[in-house]
């Protein structure tokens, strides 16, 4: 009897060690999870699950977040073809929540909202009142802007969304100075394309900030001494802008960059 109880105790002690090992590892792993998980996995708003069906929620909690986002995006594309703006908007916003690190989703969702949907609202033949159509147009532009601001909160470290906001502010909100600020921010990223630099000066001109615009064109011109190595900067255009502003600002002949012209 004593031998049997000793055997049971011996056997149980192994179980106990295994459980203790598991729990102590559980405590230890929390530090690692705290250190890494927050940076790697964008926190998922649980309200997301309220907007989806059961299958989608299961997919979400089984690690198929990106596949689910792609599926919803395909559905949004179909809704776009059918001009079902409201469900499309919901799906796109959901996709952005599911994959907040995807520049592509933010950019496209904002483009659909602020450009396509706002345009469709403005020229909606079913709505006879122009005032209501303009109001609807503005509401889509504002929704696009809000979504883009959220996108920038998630991805401030890439140039694309700054450029997107620059264009949105300029073309849809007529805020040229603000647009120039966003383009300027975009130029601080090493992979920013050449046209972004031109956009800064161009929008300063649109904001009638002639002096600042001239200074920025000069800055662009002087930042790239070897013009042949950077044909994408379209130096002919840069030169044309500088010449035009030199005339407009009455820059003395000796201070002009192109005095001969």
């Amino acid at each position: 009897m004593k031998e049997i109880s000793h055997k049971i105790f011996y056997k149980k002690s192994y179980w106990l060690v295994a459980i203790l090992l598991w729990i102590s590892w559980g405590v230890g792993k929390l530090f690692l999870e705290k250190k890494v998980a927050h940076e790697l996995t964008p926190s998922l708003n649980l309200r997301v699950s309220e907007q989806m069906g059961q299958d989608a929620v299961l997919a979400l909690f089984s690690g198929f977040r990106s596949v689910l986002a792609d599926g919803l995006w395909l559905r949004a594309n179909y809704q776009f073809e059918q001009q079902q703006w409201l469900p499309m908007r919901e799906d796109m916003e959901l996709v952005c929540l599911l994959q907040p690190r995807s520049v592509f989703f933010w950019e496209m969702a904002v483009w659909h909202l602020a450009w396509n949907m706002s345009h469709a609202a403005r020229y909606d033949l079913k709505e006879p009142s122009l005032a209501k159509r303009l109001k609807a147009e503005q509401s889509y532009i504002l929704a696009g802007r809000k979504l883009l601001d959220r996108g920038l909160e998630n991805i401030p470290d890439r140039y694309e969304l700054w450029v997107a906001r620059g264009f949105l502010r300029a073309e849809k909100q007529k805020d040229y100075e603000g647009a120039a600020e966003d383009f300027l921010k975009a130029t601080t990223f090493p992979d920013a394309p050449a046209y972004v630099f031109r956009q800064v000066a161009y929008h300063l001109e649109r904001a009638k900030k002639w002096q600042e615009a001239y200074a920025f064109w000069l800055k662009i011109w002087r930042s790239f001494p070897d013009k042949n190595a950077t044909p994408e900067m379209r130096w002919d255009r840069v030169q044309a802008h500088i010449e035009r502003l030199e005339e407009k600002l009455n820059i003395p002949q000796q201070q002009k960059l192109f005095p001969g012209n």
Partner: protein, 290 residues
């Protein structure tokens, strides 16, 4: 060590002849092989969707392979009576389990290599297809700006297809499989049936994706949380692995790959977790009676 290696080799050969695993692998290869049917989308979408779809298929089928292979490991050995034959030889129980684990890890690695090869071929085909479309566009256009834009797009496509971080994604997917396999092994050491192990492991897998939410709630939300709820949150946080940590693959696809240090932490987490799970499984298995 020789005994462990021998057992691993036998397990690998057995797994290669296992019908269920072969069918699952074929399924994965077929799904990945058909991933480039998103031809009506823009090139950005096409490449992203091909990658997401393929990685999703790899994850799903790989997890199923890991669960099934580990869940049937011990019951099959008992049923065939090979377990008793092996253990009657000078083989320790932990050596038996370690050999089996190593064999399964090799099987999964082989499956990953095959899936990665098919994925590579699909991506290459997609690249060729997109290149052709863009070259055709370039021939049709006269504008210098449009040509420059098309050239830029070509470079972008090539960069996306030849992204070295895709190898990092394979590593993370393999880590996920190993983690699931280790959990299945641990459960199978005290489970009485294969079905129980499969169901339990899948539940752990799903709960593991909510573990980070439970942890955050345990740490940061105190108002309105009852003691029982808090207790559940603590148990989930301590006892379940955080599978969200292995979702870095999504970030790699959207061009926000984790840093080298983060990858080191992730793989370290997987290695430690697998080590502890196999250790606990060895402890339980060493005292199990049939």
């Amino acid at each position: 060590m020789t005994r462990v290696w021998l057992l691993a080799k036998v397990t690998l050969w057995e797994a290669l002849r296992h019908r269920v695993l072969n069918v699952l692998l074929l399924f994965a290869l077929a799904i990945i092989g058909t991933a480039n049917f998103f031809s009506q989308l823009s090139f950005d979408e096409q490449l992203k969707f091909v990658k997401d779809f393929s990685f999703g298929a790899m994850t799903l089928i790989g997890v199923l392979m890991a669960v099934v292979s580990m869940a049937q490991l011990l019951p099959q050995e008992v049923e065939n009576r090979t377990l008793f034959t092996i253990l009657s030889k000078p083989v320790r129980r932990w050596e038996f389990l370690a050999g089996k684990c190593l064999g399964m890890a090799l099987t999964l690695l082989l499956a990953l290599v095959m899936m990665a090869l098919v994925f590579g071929v699909v991506l290459k085909l997609q690249e060729k297809n997109l290149e052709q479309q863009i070259l055709q566009q370039m021939q049709e256009t006269v504008s210098l700006e449009e040509k420059a834009e098309a050239h830029e797009t070509l470079q972008k496509i090539q960069a996306e297809v030849r992204d070295p971080y895709l190898f990092m994604a394979f590593g993370i997917i393999y880590g996920r499989w190993l983690l699931v396999a280790a959990v299945a092994l641990l459960i199978s050491t005290f489970s009485t049936s294969m079905l129980f192990t499969v169901v339990m492991t899948m539940m752990v897998y799903v709960i593991g994706h909510l573990q980070s939410t439970a942890r955050e709630m345990w740490w940061h939300v105190s108002a309105g949380v009852s003691t029982i709820t808090k207790g559940i949150l603590v148990v989930v946080s301590l006892c379940f692995p955080d599978f969200q940590m292995l979702s870095g693959v999504d970030n790699i696809v959207v061009g926000a790959a984790p840093s080298g240090l983060d990858l080191f932490y992730i793989l370290g987490y997987v290695v430690l977790y697998v080590g502890v799970a196999v250790g606990a499984a060895c402890l339980i298995f060493s005292q199990r009676e049939w």
